[in-house]
Assembly symmetry: D2
Homo-oligomer: 300 residues x 4
């Protein structure tokens, strides 16, 4: 999939040429942060091509900033930059991360029986619109093996029952361990346990088929039909221990009418789910999201 | 406000000329309803200019239809038509109503301290976009008297406390009794009691400042901020005894981001509330809404 | 694809059971049309499950109506109904068509090198959301053969140059002749000649990648970038001899910003194009569209 | 209107306390800009509470940045900061401006006979949502004097004919000269001449009632009806010598259908126009817009 890398890692670029990196920072707000960080980056030869910041409250709130910068000889210089940054981060009490744009995130997609969200991710990936590696698909059902393998992607069928769920999740953790950076629940109809979640803090994205917090729990389209809403939606969120309660990344909606029975709502909803999940995954892999107190700051 | 009547009642039309009427019907579905009603209307000289129907389920569900028709000498002919219609309605077990388009509905707008929804209604009414009479504004505060009276509309200031609420509502019922066809709660911050509601079944429209059923109850914008939603909305619904639980007429939403603090959400929300409430009122006064089992069929 | 037929043709329905049909009528407006047609349908045992009408102007305008009805023993009774309808259609000077819902329309999809619109149609078709037969894909390029054939659909690669275009189109007409009811141009980058168009009047749907009439012609995303618009869109329309000038079926849009360079606009646009084209095709195959004077009446 | 000032200039703040300022910069991109400016601001005691930047192209493109910062003793310190900034701006070849948030922009609203856009601005201003002074309303018609004066705002009725247009515009320039910072054409139906425009470069905002570049020129709703579009819109743009060709600030749209005749389109459009114009004015008065090569960078 060489086309996937075109944005971040021009094919054939000779070693030592400029590379793109990103930096995400969260810290208590006080004067001088932007000056200190941008001066630091300048000193280290980084050319800032994008910056976004958000201050919750100028008086004593949190401060968040995202830098995207180009650096000559990234392989050699970024580790030095990272090491030196300690003097800034200590001074301002920062939580921070750097990411190389060329180091694609590895994704495990979890699915059950509905394929629309998986298909959207596969197509966007194949079209070069999703700058990541889909490393594997994991499912408790065998149904999508042929589809997934036709894309050259490994398919792990890990069946389990209510009685063997613990064992099933243990096997899931085995296949993803050290091999993926992000888990995407693409209409995966099982509840993830805290044990699994703690391995991937703010790195499991789920698509919920309602505009949360409306219609928490099961069968949201049936709930929406019964309530007679005029708008339905979908929500992509990070998974936390609270069911459907994690930080919301993205939502979108579409108008419906009294004519739309539950099967229509599901069909309309499928398109919303696909688009919303794909956007959330895209923002995550482009390092645009900071989670703070069960909410997301999305620099998009 | 002669401009208000331009759509339904062409100025200077000589008596006896054609007039516009509307008919709303709900009944159990079975073959022959459209044929019977449209033949009946034809026999009575009515020219159908619009019809909309909705069948919940062809096998044993409910059937809803709305006709808009022109009738020569409406004043004389409509009562005859209505009387004759009994033979059709009995045959099909119909609930039905007819309305003259020229007989404008009389509205009482209830407000507290926020004026944006009231202003939108006044402005649309003055612009001729709301084909109704705003007969009075009722408030538990004195603040908007000057504004309302500048439009030539009576303002009833009926103050009350928690202790005197019963007395207050009695006075409210006195001023609206037999004088209004529709009560619009335009950000009226008091709960309406069952006693009041039963006087206006499916004829009280409230605007709730969230996309229901999300954020039922008080301070929805603060709730939305806390939950970190990416979309906020508003809902117009008929008032029933269940708080924020009545049939939804219309909803709309707008995107927000992490940057939008509660005061921003309120400001953005004001525009959504204005538009959503005005649409719902418009559809009600044009007889486009049928309520069935706590949901609305809206023929728009 | 037995799942495709679930809506219109319940599997295992014994011969002679009720079937669904649709009727589209356009005629000059005058009193009595709805009564006459609905009475006629009732007499012939048809149960109307949906009707939509539109009157351009009650005084002397055109009248359009769509009926969806169930009929016992459709195979036997529909031809009789059609024959008898002449007495109604003559009386009201109607243009009209009937369609059996179970007789799926056969589609030829024309593509060039971009696959996103084709993929959307294939996916919706496979998911059972597009109640039609995709009979073939025709392309002037060989690129998508493998993809298309993996769905079990014939792929006709008909290459041609500017010099051999006439010959190429002759071959295209050969492969589609009598085999398809609808031609869908799914980002097909060649201009269709009048000779081809006259074989499929109002039966060729094109997706144009702008909100027409903005950015007629080539490279609309580059034009949009240059003009600095804040919204981009796509338009599905029937193809007529006037380039990008045929009757518009559906449009949709999405917000963009100064940050979105041409490649972003194209990527965002791809999702709009997919959704808009799929909606237009869906409405066509469900017989929801009447063309009148280069505009569409869409009963959806 | 003391409520208007609540956001930017807390009433009763003792002299010498912190004040809010904004800085807009455009320059050719090169490394070190963010570092230099943020370090400069830090040195001068400014606390950056918001920054947004946009790089057209990291290799040789333009760079745009907006800072919002708080400064102690703004009245005394800002002039010093501005004077010192020359050494930065010279080094990077910058075009730049600073603005005090507390110094409200003075607006002249130009109207003809339609009042909806004016009313929206007056209401938002009265509600405290528009942090500016509406200094006057100028019209070639007398119709809105009473309305405008009821808000305590001067109304200048300057009638003219085609023959006396030059004289009329001379009078307009007299009343606005040195008294307004922004001219808003709120459905003002006269063409502004180059002589007027050159007095207010990128400081005249017009609302055009179509989603430009569709339906340039007159009667866009009639054009939209004739073309049969499924979406209508409105566009706010800066006025340049090219009619309807200036930099687009904001656009929005709404769905319509075949049922919507020209009068409906106008009514629906009025709401879009109001919202779009108000947003554009808001962004302008909050110094969020940079114009570059007939396009806008909007930091919102």
């Amino acid at each position: 999939m060489s086309s996937n890398s075109s944005l971040s890692n021009p094919t054939g670029a000779p070693e030592g040429k400029s590379g793109r990196a990103r930096m995400l920072i969260a810290c208590p707000d006080r004067p001088g942060i932007v000056a200190a960080v941008s001066h630091f980056l300048y000193e280290h030869g980084a050319n800032i091509v994008q910056s976004d910041q958000y201050t919750m409250d100028p008086e004593g709130g949190m401060f968040f900033i995202r830098f995207e910068f180009d650096l000559n000889d990234l392989e050699r210089e970024l580790p030095i930059l990272v090491e030196d940054f300690a003097r800034i981060s200590d001074r301002f009490d920062m939580k921070w991360h750097t990411f190389r744009a060329s180091r694609k995130k590895r994704i495990a997609v979890f699915v059950s029986k509905e394929d629309h969200c998986l298909l959207e991710l596969l197509w966007q990936w194949k079209a070069g619109d999703l700058d990541a590696d889909i490393s594997m698909v994991v499912s408790n059902h065998p149904d999508m093996r042929e589809l997934v393998e036709s894309f050259g992607i490994p398919y792990h069928h890990i069946p389990f029952t209510a009685a063997t769920k613990e064992e099933g999740e243990r096997k899931q953790l085995e296949v993803v361990a050290d091999k993926v950076d992000l888990v995407v629940l693409a209409r995966y109809m099982q509840i993830i346990t805290p044990k699994f979640i703690e391995q991937f803090p703010n790195r499991i994205i789920n698509i919920h088929h309602s505009f949360l917090p409306a219609f928490v729990g099961g069968k949201p389209y049936a709930q929406a039909y019964t309530r007679g809403v005029k708008i339905i939606g979908a929500t992509a969120h990070y998974v936390t221990e609270e069911l459907d309660g994690g930080p919301i990344i993205e939502q979108d909606v579409q108008r419906v009418s009294h004519r739309d029975e539950v099967s229509h709502l599901k069909r309309i909803g499928r398109t919303i789910e696909r688009v919303v999940l794909a956007r959330a995954v895209k923002w995550h892999i482009e390092d645009r999201i900071i989670v703070h107190q069960n909410k997301t700051v999305v620099f998009n």
